[in-house]
Point group: C4
Chain length 196, copies 4
């Protein structure tokens, strides 16, 4: 089976997730800059963070299916698992905001990030299972050190939130985002080699 419709459906879900988070932002009651800050302050920052994460997943998803385009039933379900994890971002983001970074919500957000990261890992493995795709993926991505480091950093963030101040846990979460925002040249180099 080709991957066109899987990509279209995933685009739809990701587009909605990234957009409905803005509906969680409360419109300020007053009309001054300070009211804007009071009503959204933290919310605007965590909205930005979650927007960047969804953007990263969209980019990585896009790259993955540029290299391989064969899917089977197992890939469809791994993809739905990823979309399910990502669909919880607006919920865990909103809880973390409303609690003003209390411990449990920060840990819950981290678990959500970890679940999405692990789902993406599962999706890559399900894709690599299909004949002929393992080599392509290995050649394009090399080792999956970056993926593994992300999972480690999420875990570190959860532990820091549990055993130090909750906000400290956000530091590794933000680090992961920064690490992926830097454009990933691996895929572009691979596609250039293929074109030659």
């Amino acid at each position: 089976m080709g991957s066109n419709r899987l990509e279209a459906f995933s685009d739809g879900v990701l587009a909605i997730i990234i957009t409905i988070m803005v509906l969680e932002l409360e419109v300020p009651e007053g009309h001054e800059w300070s009211d804007l800050w009071d009503a959204t302050g933290l919310g605007l920052l965590t909205y930005l963070l979650s927007f960047v994460y969804i953007g990263i997943y969209w980019n990585n998803h896009h790259h993955l299916f540029q290299i391989c385009d064969e899917v089977d039933g197992g890939v469809l379900w791994a993809n739905l698992l990823l979309l399910f994890s990502l669909s919880l971002y607006p919920f865990t983001t909103a809880w973390m905001d409303e609690s003003e970074l209390a411990q449990v919500p920060v840990v819950a957000y981290g678990i959500n990030l970890l679940a999405a990261g692990a789902s993406f890992y599962v999706l890559e493995h399900m894709m690599a299972r299909l004949p002929g795709q393992r080599d392509k993926l290995r050649e394009a991505f090399g080792r999956t050190t970056k993926e593994q480091l992300s999972l480690l950093l999420y875990t570190l963030g959860i532990l820091l939130a549990l055993f130090t101040e909750p906000w400290v846990g956000l530091v590794p979460y933000v680090l992961v985002a920064l690490m992926w925002v830097v454009p990933d040249r691996r895929v572009e180099r691979y596609l250039a080699r293929q074109a030659e």
Copy 2:
């Protein structure tokens, strides 16, 4: 007429249905794990169940249009009937949650599941009506025992909810989901045979 746009439109509707259900999850007021459980507990489980159902319909819809890609006016309306039934899932799911599995809402949820199952059945028949597609569909799907069994199980769930405890009705509903999550090899085998 080709089916591209019908597929794109259906993808859009399914993507929205699967995503807006998360908007129904209430953000907990407290900041402890117990608050998360109190606020969402059951909601998270039924969200998962409905997510899986929509995922199954998306998979089946995808498989169906991989085999046949001719549509006519009758197919367009059968497809809209299916989308209408599915669009009610967030509503019936929310009612069942808020009632904490009271009898009537569990029955209403079952009727919604039954209506969607029957609509899919109608859609398959409308597709099979078009010249040349009946044979393809029969060769790919064999007999539609699985579809018929699903309708029977939904009906059983409704009857159990009516005449025993409401939560007992959920057992057959969950069974149907499990039955379809197991990847359906019929379509893959058919496509492999075609490729040879």
Copy 3:
């Protein structure tokens, strides 16, 4: 310019409109069938009516762009005008529901229907303006009697709501929907002739 992206964007907007209307349905507070009826009764019926209308527009839009696939700036704006009119359906539907069919909301709903009908007419004319497309459209659709009759019936509904009981105005609105639900063979016949 080709029409692919215009179709994809319109599909997205129509998919959202058709789906968010269900968010307007209030979850009943009680757990009996009578509570379901009290909470949604009329809402469920008007949701169905508006769902059918959006389905009709999607079908007609689909047919139109099956025959012609050249667009220019004027077509883009006529299409946005149509999407704007349709995007108000959830709003006017909700107002009509909450008022339990009071006069002004029924008239407002009719004006909304009329605006969408007129926008579609404008869109057809903008498409027919492009070289080579007028003949194709004329051959496929013949005369646009059905479109003109719809506009007349909407106007009749508005007048009936104004000068008799409001609910009487709904009769011509429903008639238009029924008139279009009956599959429109014109396009299929045209495409069959082309294929020969």
Copy 4:
């Protein structure tokens, strides 16, 4: 990398933004025309304005990717930056409405417009950076006077809102919209030249 999926994802996000704004419109409590005006009056006008803006961005985005269809990591992020700015329109529009055009919300809306305009400018530059695309873009768009004038007018609107009456700031905002609604013949002429 080709731009198909970037376009599909952007279409999805823009379709949602343009549609969820209507959810912000409050359903009137009374059933007279005056209630409609009281509940939405200003809201309907600013909804229309923001709808037109999103429509303009969709048109321009569409034109841009008709001319060039090569993207890289930098373009993906510039596009996400644009989508982020646009995703805040429903929020800033709602604040401006609820404040009945108070000074700070009108300025905040202007900053949002300016941010989106600047992001589009960045996107054009990221596209022009790719080999072979600079010449195509220059030939199609000529000088980017219109883009620069828009940014100037947004800034003027912000300054007018700050130093005169807030509503005066809306005048340049509306001017920009009018300037772009007039169909942009540059791209059509370019595509016609290419076809010859």
